[in-house]
């Protein structure tokens, strides 16, 4: 495997498209339910937790892109290979791929649950899985350009949904946001951790970076994208905090969907039916992006065909999903992946950037010494 990987020129895209890709990897089915878990953790100051988590995410994203900029055109697979060598690098890569498979299972399962609870109580899970799998496979086999196209469309869908969520503000009780004081720092940290799970996804820049045509602008657009996601999450958190009472927020599983129920016209009610249905596109674009990353990793490491890998992954996801039935199990799955994601997205990049810094400075010194020795040899 080569460390640097320069894709064909017609596969490269403008850094501007990172704006759509990153927010689309971050925002998925989690947007419907994230407020509740944060509220359970830290109460009415949940919005502070969202802001802190967002700022931390910006910092992590900065460090990720800093590492990537040290290389010419490498992705995480290549960097692992470079830093940890052949065997340890492959093991780390496989860990990452495994995490993405788990994420795919979780995304699918959460979306199926929403469809089953809100639209069709009787629909068997396999129908939804097959629909999602067809879409995902068709998208991911089209390559990165098609996936980014779906991301662009997804962006408009998210924007419209957020605009719809303005309507509950007319019943807002603003002093539910107050008082701004942190009673228990532990609770706040817990909230920030839970928010981290929702924010995860910006680490796709690890894998998209080699495809960016003008790499010097990647940093700017990636941060814009993360900023957009943070604003969306913050907005939805504030809306649910000022609209719902504390008890309601504790009990409702999907506050964002409950918010949409407020939207009413004389010719149309229950907008959430439409939003949940359209959310299939949003879900699918995240899935396609992760499937593409898995296929890419397998292609880089073992030169396997990405389409074959996509089919295998989707089959695995199918089997895993069929076996998860209860809400409790879904909750356990989410918690498990939440921990994984916190480790791989938030802690690992910081760790890696230290390691990369040490290794690179060590190599540089060695190079310099080697160069000096070389020069002195020439002198003699």
């Amino acid at each position: 495997m080569k460390i640097n990987d320069v894709p064909r020129k017609n596969l490269q895209f403008h850094a501007f498209l990172l704006f759509f890709a990153i927010s689309s990897a971050q925002i998925g089915v989690g947007i419907f339910s994230f407020q509740r878990s944060i509220f359970q953790a830290c109460g009415h100051i949940a919005w502070i937790a969202v802001i802190i988590a967002g700022l931390i995410a910006h910092l992590i994203l900065w460090s990720i892109i800093k590492i990537l900029q040290k290389y010419e055109s490498a992705d995480l697979f290549g960097i692992h290979y470079d830093i940890f060598g052949k065997y340890a690098g492959v093991v780390l890569n496989i860990l990452f791929l495994f995490q993405y498979i788990c994420t795919i299972v979780a995304i699918m399962r959460n979306y199926i649950e929403i469809i089953q609870v809100w639209i069709f109580p009787d629909i068997p899970s396999w129908v939804v899985i097959i629909l999602l799998s067809i879409l995902t496979f068709y998208t991911s086999s089209g390559g990165i350009r098609v996936i980014l196209g779906v991301c662009v469309i997804q962006f408009t869908i998210i924007l419209m949904t957020v605009l719809l969520s303005f309507s509950p503000l007319e019943y807002a009780v603003w002093n539910q946001l107050l008082p701004i004081e942190v009673d228990n720092i532990k609770e706040l940290i817990n909230g920030v951790m839970r928010m981290g799970f929702s924010l995860a996804g910006f680490e796709v820049v690890w894998f998209l970076y080699p495809f960016v045509r003008n790499k010097q602008k990647a940093m700017l657009h990636a941060h814009h994208s993360l900023g957009f996601t943070n604003i969306v999450y913050l907005f939805l958190t504030i809306v649910s905090l000022v609209y719902f009472s504390a008890d309601q927020l504790q009990e409702g599983l999907w506050p964002s969907i409950d918010i949409l129920k407020i939207v009413k016209y004389t010719y149309l009610e229950r907008i959430e039916f439409i939003v949940i249905s359209i959310w299939m596109v949003v879900t699918m674009s995240g899935l396609a992006l992760f499937i593409w990353i898995i296929g890419r990793g397998c292609k880089r490491m073992w030169n396997l065909k990405p389409n074959m890998i996509a089919i295998i992954t989707l089959m695995l996801a199918f089997v895993a999903n069929i076996n998860i039935d209860e809400h409790v199990e879904i909750k356990q799955l989410n918690a498990f992946i939440g921990m994984q994601v916190i480790a791989s997205t938030f802690i690992y990049p910081v760790l890696l950037s230290f390691i990369v810094m040490i290794v690179h400075s060590y190599r540089q010194r060695k190079n310099n010494e080697g160069g000096q020795q070389h020069e002195s040899m020439e002198d003699i």
Binding site: L17, V128, L131, E269, I274
Partner: protein
Amino acid sequence: MSFYSESIRNKLKEILHSGDGFVVRGIGKSFAVSYVAGMVDIHQLNMHVLECLTDKGPVESIENVREWIAIGECEVMPSLHEATEKLLSGYAVVSLAGTPHILVVNVMKIPTRTPSVPTIESTIYGPAISFTESMELNIALLRSYISSENLIQESIQLATETNTKTNIFYMMGTETNPFIDTIRSRMKTCRFKGLIGSPMLLQLLQDNQYSLFPEMSLSERPDVAAQALLEGKIVIFVEGNAQVIIGPNSFFDFFYSIEDRYSLWGVGIFNRTLRSMAFFISIYLTPLYVAALTFHYQMIPLTLIVPLIESRTTIPFPPLLETLILEITIELLREAGARLPTKVGQTMSIVGAIVVGQAAVAAGFTSNTLIMLIALAALGTFTTPNYRMGATLRIIRFPMLIVAGTLGLPGIAFLSALIIVHLLRMTSYGKPYLFPIYPPNKDGFINNMLLTASSLFRFRTDLTKNNRASFRTAARRWFSSNEKDE
């Protein structure tokens, strides 16, 4: 009849598998003139060929004969065998005893009609003339719009049994046309048993031959062809076809009418918005009705659901079946209208209106609400300026109805997503099919989709541009080249 002309006749019979239909006329002892009856202009033949050849003494070579004949297109062919193709396309063949060389003279007169008013793409403003079945006439029409030396004509002989002639037109600009090589090689490699209509050629030239969505369009209007050329596209003329092939197009090109540019820009934008609304109405209106009444009646507020249910109380069918019956009726009416002669067609439409409008409701087959929705959806498909795209939209509605009836709104979302991904995957000669939307392009968006004000309009967009040089640099280059000329 001279001995020489008899020998030419026998030779021709041999080449043409002893077929009939050609005339051989011997003049003196050494000349023979042959042509296919009905394909030549008899007046020209008499005046400029036969009269020149009578009462001439012995001549040495065929080149001398060529000097006498006062017709522009005269060509010397090495043998009779090679001249046969010309003979069959309406040339007069002059042969001279004692030499194998043959002179072919263009006195062709293929029956054609005079250019008339466009009937398929009619507009209110703009030129009212359309192409005919004669390629020469069509080329003359096009050249009357663009009389520039940058308009390049390139004739290509297709590998067919019909020997159909085709001509490619494109504009030579500051940059080379990126599609011309691909189109040329595709036209040369595609093999037909026989090419009769340009739509057959069009399908083989597309990137995605199995897609439902068209990539190249047909037009009968010379002004549409001229505009396409100025946009950097390619126009293909096929002999014997009144419609020229224009391509490559992006998805949105199929929703623009040339009239948007003729009307005031505000009106143009309004019409385009109307058409894009019609697009959504035609695809989604009836499926949404089916989905809402089958699964999601909670979505419809009480004030609206009461009249809806009331109008459906006597109907024995589920909403999906009810809608399918009516949709198929509409399609039957359309197909019958297209196949029938015009005079019968009028009676047909009256029958259709009565059957669909009155009797279906009275018989308790469908509800009044649905008739209104179906009529709107049908109108929506017919506002699409391009008939090929309109046909595609009509077909898409049927699977959409079926998923709406079986899976409700998630089904509609699924099929829409599938179509969007399909469109995203499609390319039109290597360029993305959904161009100004994805990849998002500000210039293309303003230029192509929003503004029609002529001061802001420029022809070439990134879809047809070869390099990614911005408009400013292109303009600078244009200005500087003008200065050099002075």
